[in-house]
Symmetry: C2
């Protein structure tokens, strides 16, 4: 005794009119008489009619769904980016379907392939850690499915839009901030060297030192290698504990590294920010709650998502013939000062 859904045909039969007319009436198409439209609307309401989205999609060739692939669910940055995407998408009548690549190239490719089956109109992707080739993305683009890439981009992919931040500038500003406040022994904790973002953040660090004629001390530089969070703590505390010289500032390439570093440094007896200042990267959004709180380079995560959605929907709405030039958007970061740099209260934009 499964209740069958009410469909156009049911309404049509009840009113003794054709399906086409019912369809058009519900669309408020001027081709149907006002009286008929109202009759249909009333009957649809009375019968509890709900349009079948799947049938609509098949007929129209559009699903109004955007596929989103992120490297992981449990990073505030991605959640915020998804919120941004969702925000823009919803207000433009799109839903989003999120999958995680679990930072695996294979999963990423699988997810893309599953999106190729016509369930989504377009794709927003943040490449995973170990994505080094881009054929899988190009293959999607070849099928003329619009793609926008955001964050963690190693390499531009032709035919896709890109949304990024200025990683080198961002870390440059953070390190310069240290220097301008008299810090000289500035440690650097980076991420795996293969990632473009970490390279760029490292670059910014080096450039800031260079500009201000501070010699580069290799001992002060560490690149965290583990993808697995479990080991980050050990790696970072290991690095900090075996330093022969005391740093007076640390710049870390993620907020998490910053927090872990802070934890270790406190245990080692450092006073924050008097003995050592710390700036992380990313803005977990929670850094604020804890004592001491962590300063950071804030990525405009929500904005990045929003922008990505905007670019994608622009592509989706373009007419068949016109071909929109592909864009690379770089969004601005800014320094958020909390306890770990609060020797001077400022909040400036890069």
């Amino acid at each position: 005794m499964k209740k069958r859904r009410v469909k156009l045909e049911d309404i049509a039969r009840k009113l003794n009119i054709s399906i086409a007319t019912v369809s058009r009436a519900l669309d408020k198409n001027p081709r149907v008489k006002l009286a008929t439209r109202e009759k249909v609307l009333k009957m649809a309401q009375a019968m509890g009619y709900m349009p079948n989205q799947i049938a609509k999609s098949l007929s129209s060739g559009k699903t109004n769904i955007i596929g989103v692939i992120i490297p992981r669910y449990d990073e505030p940055f991605f959640i915020e980016a998804c919120r941004g995407i969702d925000h823009y998408a919803r207000s433009h009548n799109y839903k989003i379907l999120i999958s995680s690549s679990r930072n695996s190239f294979d999963f990423e490719r699988e997810n893309l392939i599953s999106f190729e089956r016509g369930l989504v109109d377009g794709i927003i992707l943040c490449p995973s850690h170990d994505t080094e080739t881009f054929a899988h993305i190009r293959s999607i683009i070849d099928k003329e499915i619009p793609v926008v890439l955001f964050d963690n981009i190693r390499e531009m992919v032709k035919g896709a839009d890109h949304v990024l931040i200025n990683d080198d500038k961002a870390s440059f500003s953070a390190v310069e901030f240290f220097i301008k406040n008299g810090r000289k022994n500035i440690a650097f904790i980076g991420g795996i060297k293969e990632k473009k973002v970490f390279q760029d953040r490292y670059k910014g660090y080096l450039e800031a030192l260079k500009k201000h004629n501070i010699p580069i001390d290799k001992e002060m530089i560490f690149h965290c290698n583990s993808i697995d969070r479990e080991f980050e703590d050990d790696e970072i505390s290991g690095f900090l504990k075996k330093l022969s010289k005391k740093p007076d500032a640390v710049f870390t390439c993620t907020d998490n590294y910053g927090l872990l570093a802070m934890k270790t440094l406190i245990k080692m007896g450092y006073k924050i920010p008097e003995d050592i200042a710390i700036i992380g990267f990313g803005d977990l959004g929670l850094g604020d709650v804890f004592v001491p709180s962590l300063s950071c380079v804030a990525q405009p995560s929500f904005e990045m998502g929003k922008k990505a959605a905007e670019l994608l929907i622009d592509q989706l709405n373009k007419s068949e013939e016109e071909t929109l030039p592909k864009k690379v958007i770089k969004l601005k970061t800014h320094l958020v000062h909390r306890d770990s740099t609060r020797f001077k209260k400022v909040n400036f934009h890069i």
Copy 2:
């Protein structure tokens, strides 16, 4: 010059066989000769055939998508729950479509209605803060769309499965833990009183005190009212600062409250956990990183999501006729001991 997708018909025409045979060959249906199957498979591969998910769904009446509605994106609990849902769903060939109700009843209802359009096979819902009536959910159930509710359930809804934790037992255990460790002046910071979960957590607090003959001191009890996070900090520090008696323990109904309380208490000069022990509720998953770290009642968020997905998929897979009895699953919480209760190292299950 839009490239048309390859479809069954294209393969069929190329090989001079019928669409039905191609369809069955790809399904590895034994009705088609092995030689034919291989021919088809090869051709499909060569032509880059991708099945059209929408057409499949229309034909089969199943989308293999689960709709998920959570109150907000930016709470680790929900993210973890979604991960749990996703984990189970994916391994059973379902995708998930997440929407946020932004803790608004109206958005929640809108989301449900949009799910009613046949895009999802079933729905997993965590009711929003201000959901007080349930007609919108019943209406979905009436249409025989399977529904599973999890967390924040004010009231059981007939015809839906439920996944919960034992809120009263959980807070009871936390408070009893304080008492067994010699704490007597135990403050309570709850959430808005209208929510069942907060009522239950409050109940557990009261019961623990009662069981151990500790008089209830109204001054030690505070119910945080704000939905907006911005004001929680002020509310909580306001409460703590105007206490006439010094508490030696605080139980808070969320982790965030716990962190905020800890921040204030440290500023007030309390030593943690010597002067005051704190237990939060929820396990942000980050409480660990900060100094001092926050002990908490850990909700099995991932497990809850997983269980919800399991129940839903069970409903979806049941045959047309059989009607599965609806279930209420209560999952166990456990205490996670960190710095804020580390006067004694244990980690027991409730």
